[in-house]
């Protein structure tokens, strides 16, 4: 490579680097996110009953709830309704003011359907929540994630249970 071509090549790389840097990590992540939800959803849940619909509205308003970017991991069959393990993971990135603000966990047929709400800050990094909950009977479970930019993502799972854990 002679001196001139080498110089052009260096100039070109500088321009490309600058362009990438200009767009920034946030922009890059946003494009990556827009490309395709990496977690394809399973079966669609039954429509929420009136109480659950109202509670969801209280949490996220009229915003559209899209499926993706959240994985709700629970057993298909919970033998003991008093102790049902729950794991909620999200791949939503944390960059500057863009972070997961809240995670809501709903159990449709529980006396208190909104079992838990988790509020986070950028200090938490990417969100992963684990807990153990009670279930009254077989029910759809909804994990709804709200980002600081106002996007709402969800995952759903139907969990069968035989032993009533709520009374």
């Amino acid at each position: 490579m002679d001196g001139l071509r080498r110089r052009n090549f260096l100039k070109l790389s500088a321009v490309v680097t600058a362009a990438l840097a200009g767009e920034g990590l946030t922009g890059w992540l946003r494009r990556l996110r827009a490309a395709a939800p990496p977690f394809p959803g399973g079966e669609d849940p039954d429509p929420p009953n009136e109480t659950v619909a109202r509670l969801i509205h209280d949490c996220v308003g009229d915003r559209q709830i899209k499926r993706g970017h959240v994985v709700l991991d629970m057993p298909d069959l919970a033998e003991d309704g008093r102790i049902v393990p729950v794991e909620i993971n999200s791949d939503l990135p944390v960059a500057g003011d863009d972070y997961v603000k809240a995670v809501y966990l709903f159990v449709d047929f529980n006396p208190d359907p909104l079992v838990a709400a988790y509020h986070f800050t950028p200090a938490n990094g990417p969100v992963a929540v684990t807990t153990r909950i009670k279930m009254r009977r077989t029910s759809w479970i909804r994990a709804i994630v709200e980002s600081s930019t106002g996007e709402v993502w969800a995952d759903y799972k139907k969990v069968e249970t035989t032993l009533n854990g709520c009374g």
Partner: protein, 111 residues
């Protein structure tokens, strides 16, 4: 007899600066729903933790709102970006005014 309010925070043994760590916090609490009856058919009144606050270096980083739908001796796992050496404190509050708190020190492993 369980000791109500006895709590523990579990963090990884080795943490490097900047790691996103998984923190687990567990507390002994009956988490009574108010829907069950005791052996004499008296209703066991609701008695559960409804508020949890996580503070890192004195700054609130997360807050959880619970109902009695969380299991007895509630356990919660969450992420934290360990970007500085500071205490991590968790405070639980129940519906009868009980307040329980414990903390661990986030320290970085020397390499």
């Amino acid at each position: 007899m369980p000791e109500i309010g006895k709590a523990k925070i579990v963090i990884p043994a080795r943490i490097a600066k900047g790691d996103v760590i998984h923190v687990q916090a567990i507390i002994q609490h009956p988490m009574d729903t108010g829907f069950f009856r005791d052996a004499n058919a008296n209703i066991i009144p609701p008695y559960f933790i409804n508020n949890v606050v996580v503070a890192y270096g004195g700054t609130e980083v997360a807050r959880f709102v619970w109902t009695s739908g969380v299991s007895r001796d509630p356990i919660v796992g969450f992420t934290l970006k360990a970007d500085r050496e500071a205490p991590l404190a968790v405070t639980w509050k129940d519906n009868k005014g009980g307040v329980y708190s414990t903390s661990v020190d986030i320290a970085f492993a020397s390499s």
